[in-house]
């Protein structure tokens, strides 16, 4: 293998223009590669993208549907970004979502007749605690035993997935239902819609709350600067007197908790029944792979409090739009799954070009 005679050098200091230009350009390149996929399905790419974007943003109903998908995505994206910020590679948001939803189902089904003002906070808090607990285990295993959290959080997803499968196919199964699912949660546990007739519900406000909280934590709190210090260099942070383990554990609690609420959000805002294993291996029927999408969103958003909501919205558009494009043109709807990878790869190139430039050298 011969490498061309190119010289890579660091840019002096990328200005804001460069910092925005390259990521945007890399997404455009990714959409260009996506056009090849659409063409491979025998559809004119412009027509395909027209249906994708108009299906996600074309009218009030479409926008409402996109915001309805945006809600859990913002939650999981924020959860993962927070964890990644201190290099706690939490890719277990899918499992944390599912366990949050499971515990919320327990309360939602058991306490039928409880008024909304009591039951809704109860399911949210229980979902938060369940997700937090499930995320703290890998954090402790990392702190105490140096067990790689990439592996433990991800394999944890499968454990929860089968556990959920066991519950809804066995002891929790609603005998009157044709497929495995739990009985419906109490009507008082259902998240009220913001505008009647549209699927956006109060989960949207909860998600915005956590996105703002993430912003405030990072920008305005000591804890936030500790998180950033641990992320930049754990050893140096330890030397500075920061209790690295404590930062790790507290981040895991908030990260897992937010992901748990994403699960509650899907239970009480969308499905109303606890559901089992999804068709796509590794995802839940209830979580729809939003936990994994959170990892994508966190990375696309550059782990920043501004970037993550933008990325979550973009992802919501891609998911909602891919469904619309499928209905209109027949391009398979996993289009957005493929785009996740294509965008990330292009983005890595874009980030590289933000900080480095390539020059040809002679000889």
């Amino acid at each position: 293998m011969r490498f061309p005679k190119l010289k890579v050098e660091k840019r002096p200091l990328p200005d804001l223009k460069t910092k925005i230009l390259w990521p945007v350009l890399s997404i455009l390149i990714a959409l260009g590669i996506g056009a090849i996929l659409i063409a491979a399905a025998g559809v004119d790419p412009l027509t395909g993208y027209y249906h994708l974007f108009s299906g996600a943003l074309g009218d009030v109903h479409a926008i409402s549907e996109t915001l309805w998908r945006f809600t859990p995505l913002l939650l999981t994206g924020t959860a993962v970004a927070l964890a990644f910020r201190c290099k706690f590679w939490n890719i277990g948001a899918e499992g944390q979502m599912l366990i949050g939803a499971t515990v919320a189902t327990f309360f939602g089904v058991s306490f039928i007749g409880t008024p909304s003002w009591l039951l809704i906070p109860l399911v949210i808090i229980s979902g938060f605690l369940a997700g937090a607990l499930w995320a703290v285990i890998p954090a402790i295993l990392k702190a105490k035993f140096k067990a790689d959290e990439v592996v433990t959080t991800l394999l944890g997803n499968w454990i929860i997935l089968y556990f959920v499968g066991y519950l809804v196919e066995g002891p929790w199964r609603d005998p009157t239902s044709l497929w495995p699912e739990s009985p419906a949660i109490a009507a008082t546990a259902v998240f009220p819609r913001l505008v009647s007739g549209y699927r956006v519900h109060i989960g949207f406000i909860i998600a915005i709350f956590f996105a703002i909280l993430f912003f405030i934590v990072l920008r305005k709190t000591v804890w936030g600067s500790q998180i950033k210090a641990v992320g930049a260099n754990p050893r140096a942070a330890d030397f500075m007197g920061i209790k690295v383990t404590r930062v790790l554990i507290t981040v895991a609690i908030l990260s897992g908790g937010i992901a748990g609420i994403a699960g509650v959000n899907e239970l009480c805002g969308t499905h109303l029944h606890m559901k089992g294993l999804g068709f796509f291996g590794g995802t839940g029927e209830l979580s729809w792979g939003y936990g994994y999408a959170g990892v994508f969103i966190a990375m696309l958003g550059g782990l920043s409090a501004i970037g993550v909501p933008v990325a979550a919205f973009f992802m919501a558009v891609m998911i909602q739009g891919s469904r619309a494009m499928y209905r209109a043109t027949g391009v398979p709807s996993p289009f957005f799954y493929a785009m996740e990878g294509i965008i990330l790869v292009c983005l890595l190139l874009g980030i590289f070009l933000t900080y480095y430039r390539i020059r040809r050298v002679k000889g």
């Binding site: 590679w89 067990a147 592996v151 996740e340 890595l348």
Partner: protein, 312 residues
């Protein structure tokens, strides 16, 4: 009753080797990548590409071997992309690997829907690899019907163990790639091409992961399903640590994992009155447990996660 126990034992042992095969292949590949200093988290995605491409080529061309070859080749290309991102661009290896996994997972699902089974369609099947009896050896009691009556890929994976061991410990390449993973700067000074070695290791890791993935759709079952590798790529990332990056210990780890996996499958097949969903958790719990047990003592390649860039 005695016959039942014997049958159970043989089924279990044969199943152990089959369940171990994909993780063995994948983990051997991961050992190449990590010994040279690159954490390859793309393995799960590369496996899924191998599973889907291998299945599709076999389905349309009717040749299992062409399917395996294409799966390996596509795995190699994914490895090349991983190398470009992590070696040439020096991207954060966690992020690059997750990107590759997203790419492989998503593309395999999209292509499957596009070319094989549209939404709501019935997933088609192929005729998968059948067990091949090794003449002379397949007659041995216990070993015959277990080790020596297996699909060819099982033999391939087992033979690779000493080959990889030989490469790691007895060849210049092996010494060089270990040097690159320990101290790339010193290796570079000694005249070893760090970039070339890391590229080569990721290509090997990719090809092996591609074959490992093809196992799922072409030997373990006869169809491709999205996400069908069921986290086995991540199991490989755990096993390579458990095995301390040694191919012989990888064989041990893979067989251990295969055993646990086979236990739950055999139990389910025998209709043991235990919720099979709970049994299905076992391999994952087991992997986490062994990772936690050894993680403290693991001696990671010193330069793992550090991109190498020549100064000046």
């Amino acid at each position: 009753m005695e016959i039942l126990t014997y049958t159970f034992f043989i089924t279990f042992l044969a199943m152990t080797f089959r369940m171990a095969t994909p993780v063995l292949l994948g983990t051997l590949g991961e050992a190449f990548a990590e010994r040279s200093g690159i954490l390859n988290l793309g393995i799960e995605g590369i496996m899924l590409v191998g599973a889907s491409i291998g299945f599709m080529v076999t389905y349309f061309m009717g040749s299992l071997w062409l399917g395996i070859f294409t799966a390996a080749f596509m795995g190699l290309l994914m490895g090349l992309l991983m190398a470009f991102l992590s070696v040439t661009l020096g991207a954060q290896q966690h992020v690059a690997g997750l990107g590759i996994t997203f790419l492989g997972t998503g593309l395999s699902f999209f292509l499957y829907r596009l070319f094989v089974a549209p939404e709501g369609g019935v997933p088609p099947t192929i005729v998968p690899f059948r067990p091949v009896e090794i003449p002379g050896l397949s007659g041995i009691p216990v070993l015959g019907p277990t080790i020596f009556t297996q699909p060819v890929l099982v033999y391939l994976a087992l033979i690779l163990v000493p080959i990889v061991g030989f490469i790691f410990y007895r060849t210049t390449l092996g010494l060089n790639l270990t040097a690159v993973g320990q101290n790339p700067k010193a290796a570079d000074t000694a005249g070893i091409n760090v970039f070339r070695i890391r590229y080569l290791c990721l290509l090997i890791a990719g090809a092996l992961a591609g074959i490992a993935g093809a196992w799922f759709s072409m030997a373990q079952s006869s169809q491709f399903l999205p996400g069908m590798t069921m986290g086995r790529g991540w199991v490989c990332v755990a096993l390579v640590i458990f095995a301390n990056w040694s191919p012989y210990r990888i064989l041990g780890g893979a067989l251990l994992f295969g055993g646990i996996d086979a236990l739950q499958t055999t139990f389910a097949a025998l209709g043991v009155a235990f919720p099979y969903r709970i049994l299905q958790m076992l391999p994952y719990i087991f992997t986490i447990v062994i990772l936690v047990a050894v993680a403290r003592r693991a001696t990671y390649p010193a330069a793992l996660l550090q991109p190498y860039r020549r100064e000046g």
